[in-house]
């Protein structure tokens, strides 16, 4: 073997601890990169394939109800590849042994699956028969949540009658990868919501929709035509009871998956870069020290006739070794982790054709990234070799120039500190570059940790706001259809109900010039005690008599401010457009919506005095009453605000897993950084420290000097890292689509405390790990050598 290579390997071997620590940081970065990007690739390719193979439509036209003949009309439009009429109807459903009411979405499918749009993937059983026997295909996640099997019976309540339907099999559709009823629902609730597929004709009969459809889904010859054909459809069906034409992006599952993938991709690039950046900083510091320590050896090599380039490459070799070792290990770990990560998604998503593949391109890019990062760091450190003249290199380094630093001149108290502290600050000043790099690395570690932990804070605050202060009702009753407002008085008659308020929630299109946004507008009674609204300063506010309140995010995307006028158009009655004045902005973290006085909302609907929900507070000990309520006519569901929290927490599991992984990795990184800087500063000042020991300083006193330095740099790192973390966190939160959920930007003190405690912990650990270097220092040996 080339003798220089041999030297590299032996050097690395004799400083194992340090190299292992840097390699670890690189491994973490590359593992994360491989795992996340491979999961991204696997998921995104599988989903793309699934959408195409199973023919996800491009446009979804919703009607109140319309003659089936419009399907042919849609098909005739130029650019349309296929159109399919269907019924989509939500009804309540009961399951023996399950107390809560279930929202069942019935979707009609063609008699043959082969050429269907939204082709079903049959996980088990047979395709729908078109009769009661083997009638229904049911969503896989729902069947799994309830342990249902092919042949089990379902009891939906259709047109007020309880009906028995036998399950023909387990299926999934590309339209419901993420099974939520609408984009209003953030989290799938696989116990209380399901999709049931029936044969089209059979469903028409069952629901009394003979010859009718209420949705036409359209697949285009070219996706690029989406906008154009959407307009054509809107024009063509204007007078056929059209509610809206939605694109894929408006479709809940598609949108959620898109967001999920975008998030995954962003994460796959951002976090690993931070780890690689820090890894390369540590390598840089390590090599600077190595080159300084081996000056004499460099001089000898030069004297022996090695070219500077050869020597430069020799030192570069250390960095490349770290880069290769780290990226290959990280690649292997990444492959392993991406498998479990991708499979984890299956718990939440219906992706039947998931292909977990190893993407060589990802691995190769990972290796290249790692080698480039480490290589640049190595080159920068090694290039100081070029400045060394051989004769000069053989001589010891010029002695360090001691001086007071400007801090002592500006802040006289610094000059009066205990000597060991004065020494600490001067050393930090003396090694400005290293101090700065270490500070930066610790700040990034802290920042990373805070940015990820603060997501938990945000979610906690979100729940507190949404369910603590804002919503003080016990249950929300959703009616099966619009009911007369008089029902509130009827409900008020019940002894068990202590207070009741009407709620109307309807989808509207809000327009400001070319900007428009479809959202749910909530009508609330003025002075509501059960549904609280808060202005942007966090003060309680009320809906105005006339006009609308918008959430900040919604106002932003519409480009309006209080005092502006917007157009309000009911999605149920496109022709009823009217102007409303934006009266103010409110905080409302779940979903972006508008709020109006219930009376004026109902007037905007141009439809009698109807509402579709009610909020109630019940008297103590009336739990049994809730069951009674659920069984009442018109009642679709009775939900507690807590149900959402429960649902959310389940979904949060995946987030916790990420948070856990990133926090753990940040800790390893933080430890690696401090461990390395500690080691470097001990080795660099061996002689200084040895002479202190000889003068009678104990091991602990010597360690204290090193410890002080770590403490000081870490405290500075914390101070920089805390706001930095908040900043990174704000970026992550910004990235969250606001119409899904507006996360509040908040960092609780406990998060800062956790970050500080973690830093303290790894400072102490690094110190303990290095204590041996101090206690085992051979004083005689150190003092013998000149350098």
């Amino acid at each position: 073997m080339n003798k220089l290579r041999l030297m590299t390997l032996r050097d690395i071997n004799s400083n194992k601890g340090q190299y292992i620590a840097v390699i670890l940081v690189v491994v973490i970065g590359i593992t994360l990169y491989n795992a996340v990007l491979m999961s991204y690739q696997s998921l995104s390719n599988s989903i793309e394939y699934y959408y195409e193979e199973y023919r996800l439509p491009h446009l979804f036209a919703k009607f109140i109800r319309s003659s089936e003949s419009i399907v042919a009309a849609a098909e005739r439009i130029d650019g349309v590849a296929a159109a399919q009429g269907r019924l989509v109807l939500d009804v309540p459903m009961e399951l023996p042994g399950f107390d809560d009411k279930i929202q069942a979405r019935f979707v009609s499918v063609p008699a043959s699956n082969d050429n269907a749009l939204n082709r079903l993937y049959l996980e088990e059983g047979r395709y729908v028969s078109g009769s009661f026997h083997e009638a229904a295909l049911v969503d896989k996640l729902f069947m799994e949540a309830h342990d249902l099997e092919t042949g089990s019976t379902l009891y939906p309540i259709i047109n007020g009658k309880k009906i028995q339907i036998v399950i023909a099999g387990k299926a999934v559709s590309p339209e419901y990868i993420y099974p939520v009823p609408s984009s209003r629902e953030l989290m799938p609730d696989n116990e209380r919501f399901t999709i049931i597929y029936l044969e089209h004709g059979f469903m028409q009969q069952l629901f009394g929709y003979e010859g009718m459809v209420n949705e036409v889904v359209v697949r285009l010859k070219d996706e690029a035509l989406t906008g154009e054909i959407k307009k054509e459809l809107e024009y063509a069906f204007k007078h056929y009871g059209l509610i809206s034409v939605g694109e894929r992006d408006d479709q809940a599952s598609y949108m959620m998956m898109d967001n999920e993938l975008m998030g995954l991709e962003a994460m796959g690039y951002s976090y690993p870069m931070i780890f690689l950046l820090i890894g390369s900083i540590v390598i840089y510091m390590l090599l600077l020290r190595l080159v300084d320590n081996q000056r004499r050896q460099i001089g000898v090599l030069m004297a022996l006739g090695f070219t500077k380039r050869a020597i430069l490459f020799h030192y570069q070799g250390y960095a490349l070794f770290v880069g290769f070792a780290g990226s290959i290990l990280g690649g292997l770990l990444g492959i392993w982790l991406s498998g479990s990560l991708t499979r984890y998604y299956l718990v939440f998503f219906n992706v039947p054709v998931l292909q977990v593949k190893i993407y060589a391109s990802v691995i190769i890019i990972g290796i290249v990234l790692s080698v480039v990062f480490c290589g640049i760091a190595g080159l920068n450190a090694a290039k100081r070799v070029l400045r060394i003249a051989p004769a000069e290199a053989m001589r010891p380094m010029a002695p360090v120039e001691g001086k007071k630093w400007w801090g002592e001149r500006i802040l006289p108290f610094l000059a009066r500190l205990k000597i060991s502290w004065r020494l600490t600050f001067r050393n930090m000043w003396r090694n400005k570059k290293r101090t700065l790099f270490t500070l930066f690395a610790i700040a990034m570690t802290v920042g990373l940790m805070i940015s990820i932990l603060m997501l938990l804070d945000s979610v906690e605050l979100l729940f507190d706001k949404a369910f603590g202060d804002a919503l003080s009702y016990d249950y929300k009753i959703n009616f099966t259809r619009d009911v007369h407002r008089g029902i509130i008085e009827d409900l008020g008659e019940f002894r068990e109900i202590s207070s009741v308020e009407p709620i109307a929630e309807y989808p509207f299109r809000l327009k400001n010039g070319w900007r428009q946004k479809e959202t749910l507008v909530t009508g609330i009674q003025r002075g509501s005690a059960l549904y609280g609204l808060f202005d942007l300063n966090g003060n309680r506010t009320d809906v105005p008599v006339e006009g609308i309140l918008l959430t900040e995010g919604l106002a932003k995307s519409l480009g309006v401010k209080p005092g502006d006028t917007i157009m309000l158009e009911s999605l149920y009655k496109p022709e009823t457009e009217q102007q409303v004045v934006v009266k103010g902005l409110v905080e409302q973290y779940m979903g972006g919506s508008g709020f109006m006085e219930i009376g004026s909302l109902i007037r905007a609907m141009k439809e009698g005095s109807t509402i579709n929900s009610a909020l109630i507070k019940i008297r103590h000990g009336s739990l049994g009453f809730v069951k009674e309520l659920e069984d009442m006519a018109y009642v679709q569901s009775v939900k507690e605000p807590d149900d959402m929290v429960k649902q959310y927490n389940e979904y949060m599991d995946i987030m916790y897993a990420y948070i856990g992984v990133i926090v753990a990795m940040s800790c390893i990184m933080g430890f690696a950084i401090i461990y390395n800087t500690t080691t470097i500063s001990i080795m660099e000042r061996k002689r200084e420290l040895a002479s202190l020991r000889i003068m009678g300083f104990t091991n602990n006193q010597v360690a204290e000097i090193i410890f002080n330095e770590n403490t000081a740099v870490s405290i500075l790192g914390l101070l920089v890292g805390m706001p930095l973390g908040r900043l990174i966190g704000a970026q992550i939160i910004e990235f969250y689509p606001e119409d899904v959920m507006t996360l509040p930007l908040v960092v609780f003190p406990k998060t800062y405390i956790i970050a500080a405690a973690t830093v303290a912990l790894f400072v102490i650990l690094a110190q303990l790990a290095n204590m041996r270097r101090i206690s085992r220092m051979d004083l005689v040996e150190v003092m013998k050598s000149r350098e």
Binding site: P399, V400, E401, G402, K403, K404, K418, I419, S420, R422, L423, R426, N427, R430, R687, E688, S691, L692, R693, I694, M695, G696, F697, T698, N699, Q701, S775, L779, V780, M783, K784, R786
Partner: protein, 235 residues
């Protein structure tokens, strides 16, 4: 000059370097008295540094014993040896070993801060003739001045004995003489025992006693009745 400060009994030190054993010190028996100025003379490799390190509690003998007054150093653990060095021994090295980041005064304070009975820092600096340069950093001082700061630092904690390893080794003879004068002055006015090891025979003339070391053995001990004034030493 009767009380024995350091006494060694059959001291041997064997270094094992791979398969080779080197006997650095063989059966060294030696008494050093309080207030004495002793020079240990010998070529390099004769074992003088080993002897100094063992006496100073920086190294342990393979065989034999070292007593400081009636305390046996072999009975002390690492902490005990550290305390022994802190309280009783002042080291002076060939290459000064000042902390570059501390001024002359601060280098002394570093030590006095942790000793139980230190001398006044400025008085000691005055004694080595560097009172005016107290606030200079090592890099602003000449080699001789740095070595005087090192001497002052060794003295400031008020130890019983100064152990000097080639204190003039890195200095020219003019500056070297100044350092030797300072050592003699401290020996006489403060009554500190001084042990100097050197290969420079000329220095031996200023001692009360000279030990000759050769191949790890004490070859000869010579008492000098009229030590020469360091001013008059030439090399």
């Amino acid at each position: 000059m009767e009380r024995v400060l350091i006494s060694t009994k059959d001291l041997s030190k064997i270094y094992h370097m791979g398969e080779v054993s080197v006997e650095a010190l063989r059966d060294a028996n030696l008494d050093i008295y309080e207030g004495e100025f002793v020079v240990i003379l010998g070529p390099s490799g004769s074992g003088k540094s080993t002897l100094l390190n063992i006496i100073g509690g920086m190294d342990t003998p393979t065989l034999g014993k070292v007593f400081f007054r009636d305390k046996e150093l072999g009975d002390l653990d690492d902490n005990g040896l550290t305390r022994y060095r802190r309280e009783n021994i002042g080291f002076i090295f060939q290459f000064y070993n000042l902390l570059p980041n501390l001024t002359a005064r601060e280098n002394l304070e570093l030590v006095t801060d942790m000793s139980s009975d230190p001398l006044d820092v400025m008085e000691v600096l005055d004694k080595v003739g560097l009172k005016e340069r107290a606030d200079h950093f090592p890099s602003q001082l000449s080699g001789g001045e740095q070595q005087r700061v090192a001497v002052a630092r060794a003295v400031a904690k008020n130890p019983e004995m100064l152990l000097c390893d080639e204190p003039t080794g890195a200095l020219d003879n003019t500056t070297g003489r100044v350092v030797l004068k300072v050592l003699k002055e401290i020996n006489q006015s403060l009554g500190k025992t001084v042990l100097v090891i050197t290969h420079n025979a000329a220095i031996a003339e200023m001692a009360n006693r000279v030990l000759y070391l050769s191949n790890g053995r004490i070859a000869d001990i010579r008492t000098i009745e009229n030590p020469v004034d360091p001013e008059r030493i030439e090399w």
